[in-house]
């Protein structure tokens, strides 16, 4: 089936999320829809799946106009969504999840469980999606959960499958398997829309590429001829140069040292497996890796948010393995956490309150347990000025800031402390290019002041642009260490996929 969107426009108060978007997914092909975070991809897909109603424009399937009042209508029309965050009930079995909404029943609404299992098995065999119909979802790894999602939409007769960032949570092997599944679906005549911001994946599987920026379609590309650089330029609207002007680092004394750090989950499975590493003053160390390979846990082990099971964390020569978050903070670790809204700030607090969120208890912001409002205000005014937080209204709430400015506010809070170690987790995730460049400059400036910097990023380009030394994490272990000048993105990419020598 062919899918066409014509002039789709969707407004939210104060935001034009989709502006006159038109695109075509040809029958039996893969269309990759690419764009930065916030380009309007997800809104567009929610319009397509009937979750949102567009303010203008129309949806055509095989040339026939469609009206979707709710997700049920979209499903009936043959559109199946596989959401980035799986829409599964964790405590239900596979077959219960699959049949929800289209339950086979006997008289009186009684579930026909035998029929349900049969339906699941049939689809799973027909498309090569191996899964046990009676397994509980929460016991399954993400890759298998994704198969359940695919079986769900296939059972509903979907001929147009929409995948929203399907590889974000998958391991490299699972990504390979997933591409196999996509090929199989295509071979059986399904039309596939693949939403991603990973250019290489788009180039690898798509037959057509459509690029979104700022809610508008800014171009189409042919994957057989396009290069990642061209696509990147279309996505951000100008030639982007993610390289950062910097001199080579001059590593000094060791500031942070981890020795055989191990961390296990509630079931005793390792999250960190004998990790040893160090960061010296005056260098930027970048941790590369696919999301979910232990980077978050590594940062939490260093900052004290999660306890380690064995090993040592040393800071400035002292063992801090058992110190609290607060103690480590006082001793001189600054931390820009990976999720700014959830971990980095209190949305309902004012900017000035957020700027002292982790130093409110210390002089000059407090005296004998009393907040010193004069000092807090004075410092806040100076920081929004120095770190270019816009608008610089310190009585506004943090939630009122854009993503980039909120991140700058957090960077201002952490970087303004004169401490030996700065940890930045995903420092530029989901923010505008201007803010990215600004934050990168600040990170390099901090290094040039002789601080030790640890960067964690899933964006390989960012790792290469900033790091003096690169460590690769895979499956809770550090699997490679290279000086930036001695390696290539290809080599690091192989290590990230667990395939390095």
């Amino acid at each position: 089936m062919e899918l066409q969107l014509r002039g789709i426009t969707k407004r939210f108060p104060g935001v034009l999320a989709n502006d006159d978007v038109s695109l075509t997914a040809r029958s039996g092909t893969v269309l990759a829809l690419i764009g930065e975070n916030g380009a309007g991809k997800s809104t567009l897909m929610n319009v397509l799946s009937g979750l949102y109603r567009s303010d203008a424009g129309e949806i055509l399937i095989d040339g026939v106009h469609q009206t979707f009042r709710d997700p049920g209508d979209a499903i009936k029309a043959g559109i199946g969504m596989v959401h980035q965050h799986f829409m599964l009930v964790p405590v239900f079995s596979v077959y219960e999840n699959v049949i929800l909404g289209v339950e086979p029943t006997k008289a009186g609404g009684v579930l026909n469980r035998r029929e349900a299992r049969r339906e699941v098995k049939e689809i799973s065999e027909r498309y090569g999606l191996a899964v046990d119909p009676d397994a509980r979802i929460e016991d399954l790894p993400v890759g298998i959960q994704q198969r359940v999602e695919i079986i769900k939409v296939l059972l509903r007769g979907a001929r147009i499958l929409v995948f929203d960032e399907p590889t974000a949570v998958l391991t490299p092997q699972e990504v390979e398997e997933f591409f196999g599944i996509v090929a199989e679906l295509k071979a059986r005549g399904a039309t596939i829309i693949f939403i991603t911001h990973k250019l290489k994946e788009a180039l690898a599987v798509a037959d057509d590429i459509t690029v979104l920026r700022g809610g508008r379609v800014v171009g189409h590309a042919d994957p057989t001829t396009a290069t990642p650089e061209e696509l990147a330029a279309m996505m951000v609207g100008r030639e982007i140069d993610l390289t950062v002007d910097k001199e080579p680092g001059t590593p000094g004394r060791t500031v942070l040292e981890l020795t055989d750090v191990t961390m296990v989950d509630d079931y005793g499975r390792p999250l960190l497996n004998k990790v040893s590493m160090s960061v010296a003053a005056g260098e930027i160390v970048g941790i590369a890796g696919i999301q979910g390979n232990g980077q978050t846990e590594l940062v939490e082990a260093i900052t004290g948010l999660l306890p380690i099971s064995s090993g040592r964390v040393e800071f400035d020569g002292a063992d801090i393995s058992n110190k609290s978050v607060r103690d480590r903070h006082v001793q001189g670790i600054a931390h820009v956490p990976e999720d700014r809204n959830d971990m980095g700030m209190v949305g309902s607090f004012t900017i000035k309150e957020n700027l002292v969120l982790d130093s409110y208890y210390a002089a000059p912001y407090s005296k004998a347990g009393r907040l010193q409002r004069g000092s807090i205000e004075e410092s806040a005014l100076a920081l929004v000025e120095a770190y270019d937080v816009r608008p610089p209204l310190i009585e506004n709430t943090g939630a009122a800031l854009s993503g980039g400015n909120a991140q700058k506010m957090i960077v201002a809070r952490e970087f303004s402390r004169d401490v030996p170690l700065v940890i930045c987790a995903q420092p530029t995730r989901g923010i505008d290019v201007g803010s990215i460049e600004y934050i990168h400059e600040q990170i390099v400036r901090k290094r040039n002041e002789g601080k030790a910097i640890l960067i964690v990023s899933t964006e390989l380009d960012e790792i290469f642009a900033l790091s003096d030394r690169i460590l690769v994490m895979y499956d809770g272990k550090i699997v490679a260490e290279r000086l930036t000048g001695d390696t290539t993105p290809t080599e690091i990419g192989l290590f990230m996929a667990g395939k390095g020598s």
Binding site: D342, V346, L357, Y361, G369
Partner: protein, 383 residues
Amino acid sequence: MTAAQTPPEVAQRGFVQQLTTSVNWRTGLLIPFLAVVTALIIGIVLIMLTGSSFGQAMDAYAALLQGSVGSVKAISETLTAATPLILAGLSVAIAFRAGLFNIGAEGQMLVGGMCAVFVGFSITGLPIYIHLPLALLAGFIGGAIWGFIPGVLKAKTGAHEVIVTIMLNYIALRLVDFFLKTELFQREGRNDPVSKTVEASAQLTQMLGWMNPALRVHLGLIVALIAAGVIHWLLFRTTTGFEFRAVGANPSAARYAGMSITKVYVLVMMIAGGLAGLAGSGQILGVLDRATPGFSSNIGFDGIAVALLGRSNPWGVVAAAVLFGGLRAGGQQMQVSADVGIDLIAVIQALIIIFVAAPALITAMYRLKTPAVSTQISKGWAS
């Protein structure tokens, strides 16, 4: 479905967030005012449904007004009733600020009151300036212990404070029944559960007793007002209050900022419990002079209404408590002179909470153009 199109960041703002952001005159004053008026109007309808005429209903309300502000005696009664409501309201409000729902003020009042009554009758021969503070302190500590339990369970095991405090209310109720029958507490020569009488040196003195012994308003009011001031100062001027508010608004960010969630949950519940304990002590030392079964008489639950109506702001709580105190005091008068049961007041209070918690009902009824965000505090059992 226009309402359904609100972007999530606006719609998902919780109660705590609302509190700390724009409290403009509409949400802060107009909606509570209209909520009270509407509840009173529904009250008239109820009175008429039970067979009274409109005139009789109006007489009842006249008595209500008379009994709450119509005389010095009435004002004294209003303030007497408001005193424990301020403290219970503060108890619920400070927990709200830290993101916890303290349904346990009722039980904390009972435990605190029992501690206060014990200190009040068992020690003799102390001057009032030592004995009274000692009894109040005992009440605060008793309540704080009863608040400590849900706080520590929440922090250490994740047990939902709503469930734990509900259960602790009933445990406290039974404990009071038990202790009032023990030799330690029961008044000599009595078979019914009544405690010994509090020594005069531990009683909260009637402030206007010199004018007329029937004016019951007592020193507890001053205690309650001081408590409101202290809580306001604590919340907005100290690092501890900063932690409370941060944990209430975003516990995850608070943890990343190095705050101890455990410490905040335990501390805030102890303070909340202590305030409720003071409320119970105030009733014992200022009004009843002894303990009887269930002497908290639902004041702890009314504290929830007071905290909601006062939008968890300490001075808002004081204002709401005075209003509810007036309803309680006036309700007595209404019952006596207009023969309309005082339980009508409970109904009116319940309606006020509904309207305050669901402002959309009010905005729709009066066609106001105010964004109405419903009250959300708890995060469900499953958090």
